[in-house]
Amino acid sequence: MAVHVARDVDDATRAVAVDERAELIAGGTDLMVEINFGRRRPGALVAIDRVQELRGISRSGRVRVGAGVTYTQLLADDAGSAALREASRSVGSPQIRNAGTIGGNIATSSPAGDALPVLAALEATIVVRSVRGERRVPFAEWMTGPKRNGRARDEIIVAAEWESAGPKQTFMKVGTRNAMVIAVASLALVVDASRRRVGVALGSCGPTILRADRAQSFAAGVLDELGWERQAAPTETACAEFGALVASAARPIDDVRGTAAYRSHVLSVMAARALARVAVLG
């Protein structure tokens, strides 16, 4: 076996278990670039892009999105997260959205992965499976560094799950082009009114997706005063304070796509706008 086309998840988990060289390929939008440029040459590949089990979205109370769900699917079939829809629309191009999967984003674990701040802010759980069994990992524990995560070599990501968080959520991403950009900085904000919880997560602003705990607490305080369920705008001062707290949670660097100073600045702008935007949603 050099390239194996998996029929179902069990077939795939067995295939990666028996061949230590085996790597998984779903949409190919990350791995094929590495292969085309000669940076990676996996000894064996298991293609999981046609595993139907991985392609479902269910919304019975808890949302479960199969790892093989593409961004196009996320745009067409509402997974109950406006932020995830917005993030999906910002992914690459139609061609990339047709092939790229949410599981691929989770597996690659780039700090710039567009879906990842949303999963972090939703406090999603990543479900992985191997011949040894199934394991559930909170997103907060998933990423261990840039393009590093807690997946064992023989594990397959099967789904992401989260509690439906209501309509107050958004995603924003900075790039110097109107489409097809890798995030210079990104932000997801989720206000779960029924659980009185605020989730803020930052992309491309540190080695992993970062959470802004102090900003979350601050926003929760603002919403305690405004009323969680109401559609009322916080004051500009409150939004600005929230922005500053979000920016202070970042650990940005200068790189080819942007400066650390700009990343910090733009995070504060995005965060202030995001809070103003979601507060009036209902």
């Binding site: 924003m172 991403k173 900075v174 110097t176 210079v184 100073a261 700009y262 600045h265 103003a276």
Partner: protein, 767 residues
Amino acid sequence: MTLARTRVRGGVGESAPRPDGVPKVRGEFPYASDLYLEGMLFGHTLRSPHPHALIRAVDVTAAREISGVRVILTERDLPTRERFGLMKRDQPVLAEGRVRYAGEAIAIIAADEADQARAAAKAIVVEYEILPPMSDPIAALGPDAPALHEGGNVIDDVLVVHGDPDAQAEVVVQGEYEVAMQDQAALGPEAGLAIPTADGGVTLHIATQWLHEDLGQIAPALGLPNEQVRLVLAGVGGAFGAREDVTLQIHACLLALATKRPVRMSYGREESFYGHVHRHPARLFYEHGARRDGTLVYVRATIVLDGGAYASSTSAVVANAGCFAAGPYRVPNARVRSVGAYTTNPPAGAMRGFGAVQACFAYEAQMDKLAAALDMDPVVLRARNAVEDGDRIITSQPVEGSEPVANLLRRCAALPMPADEVAHPLRAGRPSRDPLLLPGGAGNLTHGEGIRRGTGFAAGFKNVCYSHGFDDVSHARVRLERTDSGIRARVHTAAAEVGQGIVTVCQQIVRTALEVEEVIVETPDTTIGSAGSSSASRQTWMTGGAVLAACREVRAALEERALARGRAMDELAALLDEPIERSVAWRHRPTEKRDGHTQNHGHVAFLFAAHRATVDVDLGTGLVKVVQVATSQDVGKAINPQAVVGQLEGGIAQGLGLAVMEEVLLRDGQVRNASFTDYLLPTILDMPPVVCDLVEHPHPDAPYGAKGVGEPPTISSTPAIVAAIRAATGRELNRVPVRPDDIVFGTVARSGWRIVPGSDPAMAARA
């Protein structure tokens, strides 16, 4: 006297379809990278990872053992010591003991499979002694800088002295400007197929802009007479200047000759960034002086262009930047110093706009600064000083055959503005407009928050055709013949069709001149004389001119034949029992060589355009959405209006790219973004609607008055967009591309050098 009984369709002035349009939409048009011969080998290049190093040893032993590898060549295996280069032969075919830029070719390999050739390149062991890079061109010009080439680091140094170079004025504005490195980024990467021939020579099918110039560099390097090297134009996937220089031509021929097998070389995108020259990065130091009524008194400028490791066309780019440094304005007094420096950065050469782009960004920023200092409307200030026929530019050459630039400015200003769609802030939390239309686009950053609209203007100009005494010639052969189905013409030239549509122009001219509808354009090759390059906006003027001249000779011969036989001119079937064929070599009138103060008639004619840009800027994120670009351009005569609009819109897209996103990022000579992931080209969501106003003011020397249209759209569109961003933000924005940091923090680009505008940059002091 007419030949055809019915009106011929598809002649001059009509939007005739391209002859290559149908094969292109079917995917059947053979581009260079599509060429395939049974048994061909795949060529590959090993390049230096270091910008500056001595090569101590190259060991190919392990690489030779890789299966499928047929040959590996290093500089020791070269048949000659000939160097190559567009205007100065200063580049070794393979590095000789020293590399001067990251990406310089060190060895070439031919193998049965592309993968094997790549693996062999990885297996070659090169021992380098790393030298410090010389990445600052101003430092490279200094008296203490180590010489990168024999003769020092000055590639060319042009002084323009006009009127009183030390003139004084009531109102003075100064500025330092920077233009970063832009990539032509033609969609089709470099490719060619070399086939050894029975006579010991080689035939090269190649995507290029200039077959004969390539031939002139290839044959000596191979140690072959020109007659044993034949070039045939393969399908060209865009050019924009990047295919003026030799890239893989000599390498592919060497591999084919060494293996006696056909060899195809085809760069990937990453290698393409290393393989071809880019637009010259520039530092520009300006001072403008004017009277209080806005009349320009003087311009003084020092322009430093980073030529990179090898000269390429730097000398002509330096001359252009100097000649056009004051813009399309009456400037009675000037001193301009334009210098090109060798550095250990990637070589710079031709890109659409060729020196005029860099200067225009600076002088148009200066004009806006002056308008602000004078409290004048920027369009009024420009129009007051704009040149018209009879006015002299700072080289003393008068403008002729042109629409007054003030008219272009006024017409452009009067073109319809974008429908008022300034975004409104949140309405019940939902975007009032799709964020795709706003700065940041799919990133969903604003639903109207932070948006400020701005409008800016710019005018620009440059030469058409080659300048400064160059023997600019194009050859054409036109044959009128009878076939079973009727009368047709065949036209053969060596003009490279790179997408611009010279094939259509040739057909249209033949149709109009000979009144025959069926015109076959033969594949360009080196069996006919040179057509010169598809560059400098010159092919319509030059090869169009040659074809028209050839048609006139054919027609005269036909008239003679008709007269001799006592037949009417429209009895073509009878008259063409023998075909009539005529070849011509066509030249524009001679231009003068450059003298010490560049006061001469160095150019054939000038091309002028004005641009107006409207932008929405998100003040919070520093992102820009260009909302509309409007342009009035003097095209002379639109031989094919649809194709002319295509040139204007496409050129503006490249100008937009330079204004807000395109930059080859360098650090100590290393390219940091050699991919389309990080070198961003405008997408269809970034490019706004363009309003085109084609002004037809014919030039008396050009065929049908048509001037060439390709470059002006890239020249003044960039400064117009940046002016619009300045209007929206109040920021200085003295470099392109404008970065989000420049907008949100007001970052100003500084070279770190103090240079008095007009002075010799070799005398620069650290600021």
